[in-house]
């Protein structure tokens, strides 16, 4: 038997204007955790899509257990026992956990479902690997962490023994990440092999055996984690030294830019309020971070703040103007920039070209239009400048259709557009989502530059590393309320984790202490 369970040898895959994979080799050993590391647009997703039969490579072979195989579609991949947990879960929200797990591989007799059998198998698997799920709960009612366990069970249910995890930790709390690492280790003990796609070097160091690095579609090498360091990995990935600390000048606090008073936002999903009586201020020259686990009202709060949605109660003042009921365009003219959480929903018109997207917030300004006619030359010039200054990579430059760009470069385009507006208040919601360390460093630098230039920055983040390193002040949000305020220099990740999970509340500690301990 071959040493490797899966080998992808000399894979080359081209797209219009770009060589996404250029002679890449990836060899996965039996029972190892193999990390796949690379910048945005380095070709990680393309390589995985080739492995899944979604793309056919122009050159190269795939071998399973030493034998060459042809993977024409995902069903072929499944037949070879390759399974994947996608970054964005592919679950049917209104189905139960059990229904989701068996979907596509339903056990049946003459077309009638045999659910009892399926349930037995699922429960066995969940017990064996410590993947706690409630088979009868609906997906929409369970936490993100549990949804991920459902995705993992889906793979196990299909007897997959090559498991691919695409950025699995992005949505998890620190405690959940530890659990996931443990689960992955258990899998390898069972002889399963894991491909682990991530940007987070800490996690690679913690769990992976080996790591393959890609850069701009090229193969940079495979290293043993035992023999390497974080710094070396990032150098391989980015091609230069990357700083992990954020340099900040001493703070010069200015006037209050944003004043949020008692903001309450009703929920669209249930009768409770999504945001409950939130009050805080952001002053010029500081970065305030709204931290919390996904789904604790941050999204709804930002919608209310930026005018995408209405609030039911409260008042928002920006630079002395009451903007509680102001239109989005008015807020923008006052100097508010917004890097949205969902770049496909809000941030970009995917069918527009890159240059059209880069002027999305300013096409109406005199610089870009006269008598209602768009000055195409100005737009092109402006786009070319932003592309150059921000290293936005795309197949065809300004006229690339945004849809065809990689996620990281789409994000870079949005960040460039919003910061170039030279805002007084920058609302940045997960601005580094899906970015690699090099690009993250760049975005962090830009955020800090805004702060140093005396602007106010409100950062909404789920990434603990970012929460700890970038802001001057941290506000933790839990179930729509602010439960604590911290100085990042004087707190720990563990402390924050407790607040984010709702175990502690700075403002209600007295009443809660008894209950929480019991």
């Amino acid at each position: 038997m071959s040493e490797y369970v899966i080998e992808m040898l000399n894979i080359t895959k081209e797209f219009p204007g770009i060589k996404a994979n250029d002679n890449i080799t990836l060899q996965l050993k039996h029972g190892e955790v193999h990390a796949l590391l690379g910048e945005n647009g380095a070709g990680k997703s393309t390589l995985m899509s080739v492995l899944f039969g979604l793309y056919q490579p122009e050159a190269g072979v795939i071998k399973k257990d030493g034998k060459e195989v042809k993977i024409n579609n995902p069903n072929d991949a499944n037949a070879l026992h390759i399974g994947m947990v996608h970054q964005h879960f592919k679950l049917v929200e209104i189905f139960t956990v059990l229904d989701n797990i068996i979907l596509g591989a339903e056990p049946n007799k003459l077309g009638f479902l045999k659910k009892a059998e399926a349930r037995k198998k699922v429960l066995e698997l969940s017990e064996k690997y410590g993947l706690q799920v409630d088979p009868d709960a609906k997906i929409e009612d369970i936490s993100v962490g549990m949804q991920q366990r459902v995705e993992i069970l889906k793979m196990l249910y299909r007897d997959n023994d090559i498991l691919i995890f695409d950025e699995p930790t992005a949505v998890l709390t620190p405690q959940e990440i530890d659990e996931l690492m443990e689960i992955m280790r258990n899998f390898t003990k069972e002889g399963k092999s894991i491909l682990f796609i991530t940007h987070k070097l800490n996690e690679i160091m913690a769990v992976a055996d080996r790591c393959t690095v890609l850069r701009k579609g090229k193969y940079m090498g495979t290293v043993n984690i035992k023999d390497t360091t974080k710094e070396e990995l990032s150098r391989m990935m980015v091609g230069r030294d990357v700083k992990f600390e954020v340099d900040k000048k001493p703070q010069k606090l200015g006037d209050v830019v944003l004043d949020v008073q008692h903001v309450t936002v009703p929920s669209k999903l249930h009768s409770n309020n999504a945001v409950k009586d939130v009050s805080f201020q952001v002053r010029a020259g500081e970065i305030v971070c709204l931290a919390g686990i996904e789904g604790n009202g941050q999204t709804q709060f930002v919608y209310a703040l930026t005018g995408l949605d209405k609030m039911s109660h409260g008042k928002i003042t920006m630079l002395g103007h009451d903007i509680t009921k102001a239109k989005i365009r008015e807020r923008s003219k006052l100097g508010m920039s917004h890097i949205p959480e969902d770049r496909h929903k809000h941030g970009l018109v995917l069918d527009f070209s890159l240059e059209q997207n880069l002027v999305l917030q300013r096409y109406w300004q005199p610089q870009f239009q006269k008598y209602g006619f768009i000055k195409n030359k100005e737009v092109r010039k402006y786009a070319e400048r932003l592309i150059r200054e921000n290293d936005i990579r795309s197949g065809q430059g300004p006229i690339t259709v945004a849809r065809s760009m990689s996620g990281g470069n789409q994000q870079k385009a949005i960040v460039a557009r919003e910061i170039d507006k030279n805002p007084e208040l920058l609302v940045a919601v997960q601005p580094t989502r899906g970015l690699d360390v090099g690009a993250i460093e760049g975005v962090h630098k830009q955020l800090v530059a805004q702060r140093d230039a005396g602007k106010a920055v409100l950062l909404v983040s789920l990434e603990l590393e970012e929460v700890m390193s970038v802001p001057d002040r941290i506000l933790v949000m839990y179930e729509g309320e602010i439960v604590g305020e911290f100085d990042p220099k004087k707190t720990t990740v563990q402390e924050l984790g407790l607040y984010m999970a709702g175990a502690k509340n700075m403002y209600r500690d007295v009443e809660q202490k008894g209950g929480a301990e019991a």
């Binding site: 219009p16 917004h338 018109v349 239009q369 065809q396």
Partner: protein
């Protein structure tokens, strides 16, 4: 630029396959006559000046309804109500001419306003209550047609049915409006000598009006901030709201403009003076043909000129199939082409897989691989829109 080429190619392929199917059908029905008649059908449109005049005459309103549907498509709306807007446009133009004795251009304005009003309501319901515009505009098709029928039959002036021929000449005809030739010749669209040139009464300046409007629409969509906003709403409503664009207003405006275009189509067809509005029992097909025109043109305003000319050409050609073949035969052939035109987008996707978009050519002139027909030229700047729908 290659994307433009691919759009044109995909439409041409739909047309060729449709024609082939038609030929097959003819062979099955009457093998001896199939080939000569098929050839006649293909050439009839250019066989004589009057025939060609008829092609242009029918193409003008088709361009307008095609533009109407295409414009709405760009904003992410499906204006299936072109038929109703066309009908009320036609009626208001005729009423303006016959009842109020207005000159032709006032009548045309009336048709624009009427069509716009008919587009306004579906747009309003869509933007305020998120009611699907397909449903409302289908209902407005019927409301429009029935209302027009009612008004034609019941508008009295001095005890006479003013819209009907009986009020003007002694005539027993009661199912159609009075002819403009005696009711108000001033309301007829000027011919400017074109009728003599083509030796056809059908010929007037309407085709030029339609082409100019198409060009204006192209400019609005591709060169103005308004067009930018409309397309942003069409492609991604959420992102347009995020950018501070008033999406609700734009939805209404888009439907108003789409309605106005279809209404103008009704105006130019009936103000030619060669057809009277007949009391209808079914919705006028001109509006629905607009959908095919827009699909065949992949919603490019300049493309609609050519696809409308084509549909009109094949319709005129179809008349020459008679009497050897039933006149329904050409309807079937057109139906197949139109059916396939709906696949134009699919064909396009398949084509783009085979025609490699070469990076080095991105900023170069169109590749001289295929003798690209003229419409590819204007389409080149509109390449990003080619993607939609």
């Amino acid at each position: 630029m290659k994307k433009g080429l691919i759009s044109v190619l995909s439409s041409v392929i739909s047309i060729l396959v449709g024609l082939l199917f038609g030929l097959l059908l003819l062979i099955i029905v009457n093998p001896a006559q199939a080939f000569p008649k098929f050839g006649e059908m293909l050439t009839a449109g250019v066989s004589s000046a009057p025939k060609f005049a008829k092609v242009l005459y029918q193409a003008a309103p088709l361009i307008m309804t095609g533009l109407s549907v295409a414009f709405a498509f760009k904003t992410g709306l499906f204006n299936i109500g072109a038929s109703g807007q066309y009908t009320v446009g036609a009626f208001c133009a005729l009423a303006c001419g016959i009842i109020f004795q207005m000159p032709w251009w006032v009548c045309l304005l009336a048709s624009v306003v009427a069509g716009a009003v008919w587009g306004f309501f579906p747009g309003l319901f869509k933007s305020l209550f998120n009611v699907n515009e397909v449903i409302t505009s289908i209902m407005f098709n019927w409301i429009g047609m029935m209302a027009v029928n009612l008004l034609c039959m019941n508008l009295l002036k001095g005890g006479l049915n003013i819209m009907l021929p009986t009020a003007w000449v002694s005539s027993p005809i009661k199912d159609r409006t009075a002819a403009l030739s005696y009711a108000n010749p001033n309301a007829m669209i000027p011919k400017m000598g074109l009728d003599k040139l083509f030796n056809s009464n059908f010929m007037n300046i309407s085709i030029f009006i339609a082409i100019i409007v198409a060009v204006i629409m192209w400019v609005i969509l591709n060169r103005t901030t308004f067009g930018y906003e409309l397309k942003a709403c069409g492609f991604n409503k959420n992102a347009s709201i995020y950018a501070g664009i008033n999406a609700k207003r734009n939805i209404v405006l888009s439907m108003v403009i789409a309605g106005a275009l279809a209404g103008l189509g009704g105006g130019i067809y009936y103000l030619a003076g060669t057809a009277e509005y007949t009391i209808q029992k079914v919705l006028l097909s001109m509006g629905f043909n607009g959908i095919s025109v827009a699909l065949l043109a992949t919603s490019n305003p300049i493309g609609t000129i050519f696809s409308a000319l084509f549909i009109s050409y094949i319709q005129v050609g179809g008349e020459s199939l008679q009497p050897v073949f039933a006149k329904e035969m050409i309807d079937i052939i057109i139906a197949v082409i139109i059916y396939l035109s709906a696949f134009a987008l699919l064909t396009k996707t398949i084509l783009s897989k085979y025609i490699r978009l070469d990076k080095s050519n991105v900023n170069a002139e169109p590749a001289p691989v295929v003798a690209a027909p003229k419409p590819a030229e204007p389409a080149k700047s509109a390449e990003s829109e080619g993607e939609q729908a």
